[in-house]
Amino acid sequence: MIRKAVRFLDQRTGDAPLLRKALRYLFPDHWSFLLGEVALYAFITLVATGTYLALFYSDSTKDVTYHGPYAPLRGQHMTEAYHSVLDISTSVRAGLLIRQTHHWAADVFVAAILLHLLRVFFTGAYRKPRELTYLLGLGMLMISLLEGYLGYSLADDLLSGMGLAIGYAVALSIPIVGANLAELIWNGPFPGTDAFFSRMYIAHVFLFPALIAALLAAHLGLVALKHHTQFRSEPRQTQRKIVGVPMFPGQTPRSLGLLLVTAGVLFLLGGLVQINPIWLWGPYHTYLSTNGAQPDWYLGWLIGALRLVPSFDLTIGGYTLVPNPFWGGALFPLIVFGFLALWPLAERRWITHDYGYHNLLDRPRDAPLRTAIGLGMFTWVSMIFVAGGLDRVTVMFDVDYVTMIWVFRVAIWVVPVIVGLIAHRVCIELQHGEESERMRKRAEHRAKALAETTDVI
């Protein structure tokens, strides 16, 4: 049976050697290597659940009156888009399960990418020859954020609309071309026309997913061509020799298992843990907003930045060069992604002067400066993220909001520096500790050897 199938394949493709190689492709065994895999599996779940949702969703902004099963909204005017998402949530059997699973999968997808990025950054996995793999990954992260934002916006509930208004303002705020660009995207002033929703829809279900899929293919292709990096846990692992479990039979059941477990956990979340109950928010109108609504977690850093920036637009005479939302909504993410994209170049150029080829990973302590700068940057972004939720702190603990904002406006510049300095110190200490441990061992060794030789004498 098996022999027959293999012969069939080989005769038709002539690629038995390639297949054999693929089957025996090696995966180094370390838990942190699974993060990227989880992201991939969340993506698969997203495509599957998203396709199902698209069978019911309508992108029309035509005004309709609600007569559905959810009593509190009966008689209200809303767009057909919002109506269709309500129907998915209330009338389509299993619709709510799929919608909530889709939403959870998006949150987990971005979280897994972020953790994967942290792993890659702090172990120096992006170094030569894997810079392209890293950049492709960053690209996917950026598109994923936009993709998630679009999905959140398509529901056209009150929170969607508020998010879109802010997105519009950020687009408007781009120096010199902002207004023209926003007019182009929204087909006129906010809230735009019917065409705008068609554009979001095609971007969300086709353009961006296709782009992610293409980048993903390139990303995985490059990984396979250059093989995985590995930690040095025993002397067997070197720059030239990779040690790992082969794709088949060792890795296949584990990876398939992880795929199923990831999907399963997402379905459990989708069924058991409510997320974005859009029927509670109601339809969006430009003159409505609500308090205390939190966007998806991966947009929290931008909310935080928008909230922390003090009141000013940069003007030259009557010309507004930089409107305020630009700082937090566009410049800030640009700086973060710019830093991440240029870091491999900057590190080799100014810090390590290391143009070598790397298959072995660093531990964070092995590169104190990278760890320090990376942690400082991470602290900076995290604090700004927290600043996006300070209003919750006010509600829960009754701390004055304005005071907290002022504290954060200062602290986000001080704390990251302190964290960076401490991290650097700790790395050096750890290195010294290891060094003296090694010396002690060597001395012991020598003493023992000496004792043995003297014994003989």
Binding site: M162, A169, G250, T286, P310, S311, N324
Partner: protein
């Protein structure tokens, strides 16, 4: 009779037989390790449970009308079946399959000879061209021109060069203020301590230039600059409801979310907590907004209804490059 017995026996062998040990014909690739019947049992039971959970899904789906919490049970059955079958596979991978740790060489860092060949092929490919530079330039130029041509339809997406509408509003002198259901607001409807939303009669309510908030302030509170002194009517002031920061609707009026250091009434935007002072013409008290809130002049007609006495004193909505040019050229 014997046929049935044969069938029974063969089924039993199929299910419970351990398989015939194959004769080692040639050297093994995957090292031999002893079997693990215990783990096999674990994997098989996980698969069984997973199948049960999977079967539960269509059942719950079919009975959805009759059971409460259908979404929870649907998620539970589908999710559990995935997790259980996944767990069975993980058990298989970890315990039932030989985990070899193999060494292998990393692929070569580079292939200098192949590189040379590639370079040579590309270089020699253009040998027949006598004016290479001219040719390449034409090729690039034609490509660029074609690119521009293909990008042109993008302009149709929106009124890219018409930014004027960003500044326009439907407010005119004499326009009546109405509520969400188009009922006119009367000055006597407006009480202190809360805020109301109003729209220009007959205009599109979704237009960013449309909605305004109305509040009534005690007369001794006002600190309006001279040019806005005549904007209130009978202690009532109207401001654009669209935050000048990023376009959210201002929907908080001195709520506990924002406790002013002095007990001034304030209009607050819930998106990033820009806070505006309704007593002095809408200046920014706190938060990221870069411009004051535009104020709408009011008047009261003979029957007590609220009307606009003109357009706003400034541009509405979030800032963009031309937003401050409004002053030089206010829309009529």
């Amino acid at each position: 009779m014997s046929r049935a017995r044969d069938l029974l026996v063969s089924t039993a062998v199929l299910l419970f037989g351990r398989g015939r040990p194959r004769l080692p014909e040639r050297e093994r690739i995957i090292p031999e390790k002893p079997g693990r019947p215990g783990w096999e049992l674990v994997a098989v039971s996980l698969l069984g449970l997973g199948a049960l959970a999977a079967i539960a899904f269509p059942l719950v789906y079919g009975l959805a009308k009759h059971i409460p919490h259908e979404t929870q049970f649907l998620g539970l059955s589908l999710g559990l079946s995935f997790v259980l079958i996944g767990a069975a596979l993980v058990v298989t991978g970890r315990h039932l399959i030989v985990t070899e740790e193999i060494e292998e060489d990393y692929p070569a860092e580079e292939h200098p000879e192949e590189q040379e060949t590639l370079v040579q092929v590309v270089e020699e490919s253009g040998d027949r061209l006598t004016r290479k530079r001219l040719f390449l330039l034409s090729l690039g130029g034609a490509g660029a021109a074609l690119g521009v041509a293909l990008l042109t339809p993008v302009v149709s997406l929106g009124p890219v060069f018409r930014v004027g509408p960003l500044l326009g509003t439907p407010w005119r002198r004499g326009r009546r203020l109405v509520d969400e259901d188009d009922r006119p607001w009367r000055a006597s409807d407006i009480e202190e301590g809360t805020f109301y939303t109003a729209f220009p009669e007959g205009a599109d309510k979704e237009d960013l230039g449309s909605s305004v908030v109305l509040v009534r302030l005690p007369k001794d509170r006002f600190q309006l600059p001279a040019q806005l002194a005549r904007y209130p009517a009978d202690g009532i002031v109207a401001y654009s409801k669209i935050c000048t920061h990023a376009g959210c609707a201002i929907s908080l009026y001195r709520t506990p979310m924002f406790e002013p250091t002095d007990p001034k009434p304030a209009l607050v935007c819930p998106c990033h907590y820009s806070t505006f002072d309704p007593a002095d013409g809408g200046s920014v008290l706190f938060g990221p907004a870069g411009r004051k809130l535009p104020m709408l002049p009011l008047s009261i007609d003979s029957s007590g209804g609220l009307r606009a006495a003109g357009n706003f004193d400034g541009p509405v909505g979030p800032s963009w490059w031309g937003v401050r040019l409004w002053k030089a050229n206010p829309p009529s």
